[in-house]
């Protein structure tokens, strides 16, 4: 059964490949995907490991149920991050993960550095290292097309870097298809540092199923229930841009580098409905019934001829409102530019927002930036993206991400809103206290995907919240009460989802009725024959999260780093629907205490010895 899904160790120094089985005990402890990736990374992780050195392993991992009838078919790419200098990990949709499983592989561990640019061609567990001088310099979509043409197989799935990854821009992405990205934490730069342009995969192997008849029936029932949810229906029509509307209406968007948190009615220009005229249909990742992704085409005007997929909420926010840019066509075009270069749209937007605020305040001027960095200047935004990806002039400085702080003097530092040397995203968390804590404690630095409890927006009755979270949680969005519990619960739950290859949107993201551990347990049993109780799954989530925390602890990270940008504690939101909201140090610390207690970490945020023993992490 699952034993047929193997792991390939690829050494680019030695030009060698070894394919081995994944011991069942690892499946029992970590499932797959992010879980097994973290186990593998932990074997190499040390504080002095240079993320751009050949020793840093680049790990691809598909979820235990990726490629089957589950709740999505996603995968994680993991390494030490050149962007933050700490734990790096990014989750990716599309078809690549499922194709890897069809090729009989669950995980790839790529070490070393090739002398010349190469790509990997994987066909049914056979891994070939191929020279690729002519692909070097090509953008991420061209690269995929050329590999397909060369191999004469249109079904080959390719994960590649673009010029940004080649140039070691610290926030480079790994991309597949028109839009899917392992975007955050700079996995593309790790790939570039290995002279590895792409990983191409094609598989035709059977995925054996333990109980086919009952599995199909159970899946059909689960899917039907899911598709009846209003939330999934809305996602299938509007996609994630729908979330932009919520954030703008309630007041937790980042506007002009978080100087404001809503643009009020001006938001109409870039929200979900404004995207409709460009939309030519909705698309799905492999194995997903929700189809939340837009296909778009711009038919007239300045950006005529651009077609592709997206943009998602995160890109609209990061390259739009965060930069004061309300020109939707410009945002779409900027997103495409990042995608082609292989840049993470979120981090790219965040560092540009930082630079724009420094420009606004006169901390840097045009002598430094070459390009005037004015809020909402779409042309300037495009130009700066080109310069970052090509490491040209001021772009070369910003390409260093948070490490560029040293270039602009002491007064510049607090205007980069980062956590653990990793920039916050398209939102502002001064209003939603649960979101704020989740950003502070995320194991990959400021990140909403580790925990974001969107359920908190719904204002559910406390009786229901207690049932979900197992303890008292306030239904008030701006309340601190019980939010430590909420974040603890979602961190563990999301780790399990990522280890299974599931998508946030098909589980408990915005609907309390969506599938949870009980349904996961049943899907695993019917498809793989492996038995996990819901409680055992939860323990696996704890194990994954605590293992990630232990890697951060090795880096010297503790309670003092589980914090928020100074602006959140010092500046009340000046206007808009969330006016006056701020984070109280005292209340924040109370949330953190509750959160550590539930994780069974000590008051300084260090996992306790007996907890590590319980989770089998004490080796």
């Amino acid at each position: 059964m699952v034993l047929e899904r193997k792991i390939a160790f690829i050494d680019l120094n030695k030009n060698s490949v070894e394919v081995t089985s994944i011991p069942l005990v690892l499946r029992h402890k970590f499932l797959g995907g992010r879980g097994i990736n973290m186990y593998l990374l932990s074997k190499f992780y040390r504080p002095d490991l240079d993320p751009l050195s050949p020793e840093n392993p680049l790990i691809f991992g598909t979820g235990l149920l990726t490629g089957t009838l589950g709740l999505g078919s996603r995968m994680n790419i993991t390494a030490k991050s050149p962007e933050s200098g700490h734990l790096g990990d990014s989750n990716m949709g599309g078809d690549f993960g499922a194709e890897l499983v069809k090729a009989g592989l669950s995980h790839l561990v790529i070490k070393g550095k090739s002398q010349k640019p190469v790509y990997l061609l994987i066909r049914n567990r056979k891994v070939e290292i191929r020279d690729t001088q002519k692909l070097w310099g090509k953008d991420t979509v061209e690269t995929q097309k050329i590999i397909r043409q060369e191999s004469g197989d249109e079904k080959i799935q390719v994960a590649s870097i673009g010029p940004a990854g080649e140039n070691l821009v610290r926030f480079s992405a790994i991309r597949t298809g028109m839009k899917n990205s392992a975007g955050r934490t700079g996995m593309g730069a790790v790939m570039g540092s290995k002279n590895l342009k792409a990983v191409a995969v094609r598989g035709t192997l059977d995925i054996t199923i333990s109980d086919p008849k009952n599995y199909l029936n159970y899946y059909l029932r689960t899917m039907k229930k899911l598709m009846n949810s209003k939330w999934v229906q809305s996602l299938g029509r509007f996609g994630t841009p729908l979330l932009f509307q919520y954030a703008n209406a309630i007041g937790f968007l980042s506007i002009r580098n978080n100087q404001l948190t809503s643009i009020g009615d001006q938001g109409y220009a870039i929200e979900a409905e404004a995207l409709e005229p460009f939309s030519t249909g909705m698309l799905s990742c492999f194995g997903c019934p929700a189809h939340c992704r837009h296909r778009f085409s711009i038919e007239e005007g300045k950006y005529k001829g651009i077609k592709g997929e997206g943009p998602e909420y995160a890109s609209i926010g990061s390259l739009g409102s965060k930069l004061g840019n309300l020109d939707l066509q410009n945002i779409i075009s900027a997103t495409e530019l990042c995608n082609r270069y292989g840049l993470d749209t979120i981090s790219t937007g965040s560092y540009m927002a930082w630079a724009m605020e420094l420009f606004q305040r006169g901390i840097i001027d045009q002598e430094t930036t070459e390009i005037p960095l004015n809020w909402g200047d779409g042309e300037g935004i495009h130009q700066l993206i080109h310069h970052i990806a090509r490491r040209k002039g001021f772009g070369n400085i910003l390409a260093e991400g948070a490490f560029a702080k040293k270039n602009f003097g002491e007064s510049s530092k607090d205007y980069l809103l980062d956590i653990k040397n990793f920039p916050i995203e398209m939102t502002d968390e001064r209003l939603p206290k649960s979101f704020a804590l989740g950003m502070a404690t995320s194991t990959r630095g400021a990140c909403h995907m580790r925990s974001r409890p969107s359920l908190d927006i719904l204002g559910l009755p406390e009786k229901i919240l207690k049932k979900i979270y197992g303890g008292p949680v306030s239904g008030e969005f701006s309340s601190y009460s019980g939010k430590g519990r909420m974040i603890w619960w979602h961190e563990i739950f999301n780790a399990v989802c990522d280890a299974l290859g599931f998508c946030r949107f098909l589980t408990v993201f915005s609907s309390p009725h969506a599938p949870q551990y009980k349904e996961f347990s049943k899907l695993i049993a019917l498809s793989t024959g492996l038995i996990f109780t819901p409680n055992e799954l939860k323990t696996i989530g704890e194990r994954i999260y605590t293992l990630e925390r232990m890697m951060l602890v090795k880096d010297g990270i503790s309670r003092q780093d589980d914090t928020l940008p100074k602006r959140y504690f010092k500046e009340p939101i000046p206007e808009g629907p969330a006016q006056g909201e701020i984070i109280s140090h005292k209340e924040f610390n109370k949330m953190l205490d509750e959160y550590y207690r539930l994780h069974d970490w000590d008051g300084n945020g260090i996992p306790k010895r007996e907890n590590l023993e319980r989770l089998g992490l004490d080796e």
């Binding site: 069809k102 397909r148 995925i207 599995y215 299938g236 030519t280 997929e309």
Partner: protein
């Protein structure tokens, strides 16, 4: 009975291919499915589901002396028949071709097609 395709609605999720192989063979292998999605995912992003049209005049048999109604009920055919299909509608893997037997008049693929790109026509 046949399955009608409205390609503009196809989201490219491959769920139809997965349930087809699962229902007939007890495995998941999108290559061993009677329906397949042609994707133009690096250009127009358009998807085209392709499967047997249940033609009245079955050119796929190319003069074979077989009992047509019986053959229609079979899922695994051979590659030669696929080569004779004027619509190139059968999936082929190795020497085998996969033919839509309509799941004994209870097609599974349409049950998972949430955008409604494939529908049963009676």
């Amino acid at each position: 009975m046949r399955i009608k395709v409205n390609k503009d609605k196809c989201s490219g999720c491959h769920l139809c291919e997965m349930v087809c192989s699962l229902f007939h063979l007890g495995i998941i292998n999108t290559e061993k499915s009677a329906i397949r999605i042609h994707k133009d995912d690096l250009d127009t992003s358009l998807n085209t589901p392709v499967l047997c049209r249940q033609c009245k005049e079955m050119k796929c048999f190319n003069g074979e002396k077989v009992i047509h109604p019986q053959e229609r009920k079979k899922f695994i055919w051979n590659k030669t028949r696929a080569e004779h299909c004027p619509f190139d509608a059968l999936s082929v893997l190795g020497e085998e071709a996969f033919h839509c037997d309509l799941c004994s008049r209870n097609p599974q693929c349409v049950k998972v097609c949430t955008p409604g790109a494939i529908q049963v026509i009676k």
